[in-house]
């Protein structure tokens, strides 16, 4: 009898964990949108509606912390797995931040201002069409371009580190245009909260 009760309790617990685990799954994020505010905390309050797109040209204000800080409460691993800091992409052999890249960095900057304790590393990556040797410098330049732009937006330089991985870690290993354009990027990693 006792054992049965115990088993039932365990079953209920298991189900709770499973259901909770499922509901933890973040909904797909519309990539072109400004910083995604993914929902989490299974079983908690209903997911907050996505924020409207931020006007880009306006001076960036640090919004007050929302009642449920769904970003700030996530672990580093969770944060980086579905990062509120989006990557920006570069043209062939280029380290210039284009208009789309500026929008990305402005959005990233507003997130980083909201979380000034975050330490962020910008990884510079390249596609496979340059040489391994040269691409290390090109990746470094891409990461640095992104950092410099963030600093120009008021992000403290010591909040951002850069590292180049050249063409050593392609995000898409295919040998075609669509892969190459994904691999020419500055990728953001949150290393400390």
């Amino acid at each position: 009898m006792r054992r049965e009760v115990k088993a039932q309790i365990i079953l209920v617990l298991l189900l709770t964990v499973l259901v909770g685990g499922c509901s933890k799954k973040t909904p797909p994020v519309a990539r072109p949108m400004p910083p995604p505010m993914p929902t989490n905390t299974g079983g908690g309050p209903p997911p907050a509606p996505p924020e409207p797109p931020r006007p880009i040209a306006e001076p960036i204000e640090v919004p007050p912390l929302p009642p449920e800080d769904t970003v700030g409460s996530r672990s580093l691993d969770d944060l980086n797995r579905d990062s509120p800091l989006r990557p920006l992409y570069f043209g062939l052999d280029s380290a210039d931040v284009d208009a789309a890249g500026q929008q990305v960095l402005q959005a990233n900057a507003s997130v980083m201002k909201k979380y000034p304790t975050w330490q962020v590393t910008i990884e510079g990556h390249c596609d496979e069409r340059g040489t391994a040797e040269y691409n290390l410098a090109l990746g470094e330049r891409r990461a640095l371009s992104a950092k410099n732009y963030l600093v120009s937006l008021g992000i403290p330089a010591d909040q951002v580190r850069t590292v180049s991985y050249g063409k050593e870690f392609p995000f898409d290993a295919a040998h075609e245009d669509s892969a190459w354009s994904k691999n020419r990027r500055a990728h953001f990693v949150i290393t400390a909260k």
Binding site: D77, N80, R81, S83, D93, R129, G130, T131, A132, E133, Y134, L136, A137, L138, E140, R141, L144, R161, V163, S164, Y165, G166, E168, F169, F171, H187, V189
Partner: protein, 456 residues
Amino acid sequence: MITNASRYHVVVFTLVAACAVVAAQQPPPPAPPAQQTVVDIGKLTGDAGTPPRLAVPDLLALSTDRETVEAAKTIGEVLWADLNFEREFYMIPRDTYKSIPAAATIDTVPFDRWRELGADGVVIGTVQKVATGIRIELRLYNVRGRQSIYGREYTGSAANPRIYAHTMSDELHDSQRKLRGVARTKLSFVSDRNRESVLATVEKREVKEIYVSDYDGANPRRITINRTMNLFPNWSPDGRSIVYTSYRSGVPDVLISNIFAGTMETPTKGVGQNWLPVFSPDGSRLAFISNRDGNSEIYVMNRDGSNLMRLTNNQTIDSTPTWSPSGTQIAFTSERSGSPQIYVIGADGSGLRRVSSESFADRATWSPAPFNEIAFAARTGPGFDIKILNIGTGETRQITFGEGSNESPAWSPNGRHLAFMSTRAGRSQIFTVDRDGKNLRQLTRDGNNTTPAWSQ
């Protein structure tokens, strides 16, 4: 087993057993002292205008144990391949003389059979088990003159028979052709063959470690064990150290691994991010790239990190330095003209000049005397090909032609060969090719293998 007849022609010298035991971990054994000169009483010649035709049958095993029999077979095969590599002899294919009986002494060498085969020379040797391992006698016979014109004896461990063949080949090339062979040199390269990966933020990232192998790709051995990314190895001239770019600390930095001592040096002391280090020809200095002043520039420092000097100063990318054989100049890549091109600058920062006119050129490697050439990778289409610039004439020739992408050339120490990375076989693999584009060989097949360096 030195017969009376051969004793006149063979002065014995011995590679001490210990030397051969650790052959796989040690640089090539030092050249024998002068007093141990062997008798060389003639040079093999071929027909007018043609290289000597040479046969290298299996050595004769005088003992029946497996180790000795294996060594006899391996040494014959490897010696043939080593001699073939330099193209100084016409090496008669080994399967054409399988039926010619082996000979233990000059009295039993079937010279008529070798003459019939068209051989000018035949290398004949014996392997015998002894208390310390194996003893090998090797002779080169002039088939026309029916005489032994060259002889050596080696004693040591049977653990790595290939090292005997490599030593024999280098000594034969030196004696017969006045050529510095490369059979005892090593390669170093980057490989992900262990298929280890570490989970990064969004994807798995392969661990890349530094490996060394013999010049022919045999005996690959892993040098780094830090399970991060280690790139761009380069040998110290004494072959005892490898300097490379390591992400051990999270960002690229210069590390020196003393591969026999098992120790490590960190010459930059963690200042800035530093990559692509290369030893000066005398081993006392390192050229490398650093972003310590905000932008990738070429620096030179002593091996211990002292005496730092910045060679370039501009807002564009400078990358991939390499020393001239004399150590007085450095070739490197710069995009100051708008595209990556090869430049040359004095090691003191003077006399900058551009030497390439490609759409994209990188990874210069400066050939040793008597050649004065810079090989590099040039973008020729979707990928790269290896080109060679003659500095004297300013002419550039191409030695690979669009089979995959061909990158990261590195000269052999005698200037006759290049190691490089090619994707022609699918993944990235290390190949060697001669300076005329012939004699292409694939050395690696396991995983991806990139950025070779050739030891002195």
